[in-house]
């Protein structure tokens, strides 16, 4: 019974591991709105000065969040009003399904004055902010700039952003995303854990055999 339960649990974990995440802007999502290409190019870290924020996610420590209201630009876009072309430090970049960032900081990337989230609220909307803290500057970028469908068009921006380790913050992660995140965290401890588990197993089996022989 114990073996069956363990095998079922391991199979479930293996299935979750093999299943790609469907969380939008997850580094483990290979879909058009995932960030798997970014994850392949950049070094991801838990502590980083460059943060990529997905719509609906927030950074309370910097008072910055990404809204869920999509930006529509009827004039300066990449073939679709929902794919606005933005000003990334004087160079054009594409941000499909972008939403505005809100919070303090200096805008580094922003949409055109003719972009809207409602008929009454128009741009420019910031898609990247430089937030000065006590001793350093934190750079917060909107995830839409680096989605798999946009990343090839924003190669220059990607190169600039990936010069340093990057942290990705998503909203509403699915189990596959969470499992991959935890596995990434546990990776350095995998070898000691396997060693300990193997040793305990061998120790336990040896004790059991001895007690049986004595009978």
């Amino acid at each position: 019974m114990l073996r069956t339960t363990l095998a079922a649990a391991l199979t479930a974990l293996l299935l979750l591991y093999l299943t790609p995440s469907t969380t939008p802007y997850s580094p483990h999502n290979p879909g058009p709105d995932g960030l798997s290409k970014l994850a392949a190019h950049c070094q991801l870290a838990d502590q980083a000065d460059v943060i990529i924020l997905a719509p609906g996610a927030e950074l309370p420590q910097y008072n910055v969040s990404a809204l869920r209201a999509p930006i529509a630009d009827p004039f300066i876009n990449d073939g679709n009003p929902r794919n606005p072309v933005v000003n990334a430090r004087g160079k054009p970049a594409v941000a499909p399904n972008a939403t505005p960032l809100t919070g303090p900081g200096t805008p580094l990337v922003y949409t055109s004055p003719g972009s809207f989230i409602t008929n009454d609220t128009r741009g420019p909307f910031p898609l990247a902010l430089a937030v000065a803290t006590d001793n350093k500057t934190i750079y917060i970028y909107h995830a839409a700039l680096f989605s798999n469908q946009a990343i090839d068009k924003n190669a220059a921006l990607l190169k600039e952003v990936c010069a340093r380790p990057v942290k990705i913050v998503v909203a509403d992660p699915d189990p596959a995303h969470l499992l991959h995140e935890h596995l990434d965290e546990a990776q350095p401890w995998a070898a000691p854990a396997i060693l300990t588990a193997t040793s305990l197993y061998l120790l336990l089996k040896k004790t059991t055999w001895q007690s049986r022989r004595e009978k």
Binding site: R3, T4, A7, A8, T11, L14, L15, L18, T19, P20, T22, T23, P24, Y25, N29, P30, G31, P32, D33, G34, A54, P55, G56, R68, A69, P70, A72, P74, F75, I76, P81, R82, V85, N87, G90, K91, P92, N97, T99, S112, P113, G114, F116, I117, T118, N119, R122, P124, P188, A191, P192, I194, L195, T198, S199, L202, K205, S211, R212, K215
Partner: protein, 459 residues
């Protein structure tokens, strides 16, 4: 376990088939047609959009209406000759074959650069004034009408030229050929003719500005500049009738190289301190990096086994330049190697267990056989039946912890351990087979023996 594998494979295939990447959950976007109408009603916003597009080098492509109406624009400048810094009045009329076009934006380009917008009145007339800050003998002025998206008109433009009068000016920089890094660089700047204006000096990514009349001396500290060849550019913007001027100079900033020594054992162990010796002459600030990370007295435990660069970097300290020395070291991490002995140990235990099982089964077989009359000679089939029983008794003995010995009859022992058998029928089939082999002249048939081996699997 055998059932679990196909179920898992089927579940995996189902997940792969059903897996669809989901789009981000966003609120509904506003209606694009309404947004276009909003922009059309706001010429100022359209102007801002055009400026944004121009900053990015985007050429806005505007689809013409199905039946475009041609437009005509005229352009008049007053005066035709102007001194640089002076103003020129620009006027014109925007018309179509149906009459004048009112309330339309006309873009004014000065020497190819967008300068101003003018709006047409009810008669299609527009006028504005531009200041000429271009120092060319002849400057082209262009008025461009570009209809807003959805407008039924065609684009039109008109060009005029203005003659510009100005004085040329020159700028000279005197600088030493070489300067030691950290010392001051003295630049002597002279302009002709003398005018009071701002000079901007760009050197090594830094900008300095000063106001001069005829000549001036600038002292630039080189400590903040990178050593090597320094290109200096001085620029003076145009001021009134005086044209801009520029001058360049090149200075070699010479730096000295500090002596650096780094000694390390070729083999380091993760989690342990290493005997690394280093020194610099003169004594300047240094940083020791292992695998690109600062070395803090011991090799980081999370470094995997492999070759890494141990680098000693000195900070730039004028007149000494930054240098770095790198040595390749092999880092051994015992936690990475731990699974190997564990795997060997597991393989050894599995082997020992298999060997022990064979010996144990053989002992039980001897016990089972010795419970029969000593004079009895068994057929091969009978021996196989007894061997089957020995296998079964070994398995049940392992589970129950009660080992078979000849004090038990076959049935007594089978009754004692029957609760540990998954299939009672199989257990009793094996017992009956063995009993018949020992006590009956009837030899077990190959079919019965084959079923016995199957039973052993299900036991």
């Amino acid at each position: 376990m055998k059932r679990l594998l196909p179920v898992a494979a089927a579940a995996l295939l189902l997940i792969v088939a059903l897996h669809k990447p989901s789009a981000p959950q966003l609120s509904p976007a506003p209606d694009v047609q309404q947004l276009i109408e909003l922009v059309r009603a706001n010429p100022e916003l359209w102007r801002l959009i055009l400026l944004f597009a121009q900053e990015l080098g985007i050429n806005l492509v505007i689809k013409p209406p199905p039946k475009p109406i041609p437009t005509n624009i005229t352009l008049t400048t007053e005066p035709d000759r102007v001194t640089a810094g002076g103003e020129v009045a620009i006027s014109g009329v925007l018309t179509t074959p149906r009459g004048p076009l009112a309330g339309q934006l006309v873009a004014i380009y000065l020497d190819g650069a967008l300068t101003q917008f003018a709006t047409t009145d009810s008669q299609g007339r527009f006028k504005t004034v531009v200041t000429i800050h271009i120092y060319k003998p002849r400057v082209e002025i262009r008025a461009v009408y570009k209809p807003l998206p959805g407008e039924p008109y065609l684009e039109s433009n008109a060009t005029a030229a203005v003659e510009v009068l100005y004085n040329t000016t020159t700028l000279h920089i005197s600088a030493p050929r070489r300067v030691k890094w950290g010392e001051e660089l003295t630049l002597h700047i002279r302009q002709d003719p003398p005018i009071r204006r701002t000079i901007r000096i760009a050197a090594g990514g830094r900008t300095y500005s000063l106001i001069i009349y005829d000549e001036s001396t600038v002292r630039i500290p080189t400590a903040a500049l990178p050593p090597g060849t320094l290109h200096i550019t001085a620029r003076a913007e145009g001021k009134g009738p005086y044209a801009p001027a520029a001058a360049t100079a090149t200075v070699e900033i010479e730096a000295e190289t500090p002596r650096v020594r780094l000694e390390t054992p070729p083999l380091l162990f993760a989690g342990l301190p290493a005997e690394i010796r280093y020194s610099t002459t003169p004594n300047i600030s240094t940083a020791l990096l292992l695998a690109g990370r600062p070395y803090r007295g011991y090799v980081p435990l999370d470094l995997a086994t492999g070759f890494y660069d141990l680098t000693l970097k000195t900070a730039p300290a004028p007149p000494y330049r930054a240098v770095s020395v790198t040595q390749r070291v092999l880092v051994i991490n015992f936690t990475n190697l731990a699974p190997l002995p564990a795997a060997v140990a597991v393989a050894y235990v599995v082997y020992r267990r298999h060997k022990t099982k064979r010996e144990e089964v053989e002992k039980i077989y001897e016990e089972v056989k010795s419970a029969t009359p000593q004079s009895r000679v068994f057929s091969l089939e009978a021996e196989e039946a007894l061997r089957l029983l020995a296998h079964a008794y070994y398995t049940l003995g392992e589970r129950s912890g009660v080992r078979y010995n000849r004090r038990y009859t076959y049935r007594e022992y089978a009754s004692a351990v029957a609760n540990y058998a998954r299939s009672q029928d199989c257990l009793w089939h094996l017992v009956a087979l063995a009993e018949r082999a020992v006590y009956s002249p009837l030899v077990p048939t190959p079919v019965e023996l084959a079923r016995g081996w199957q039973c052993l699997e299900q036991l």
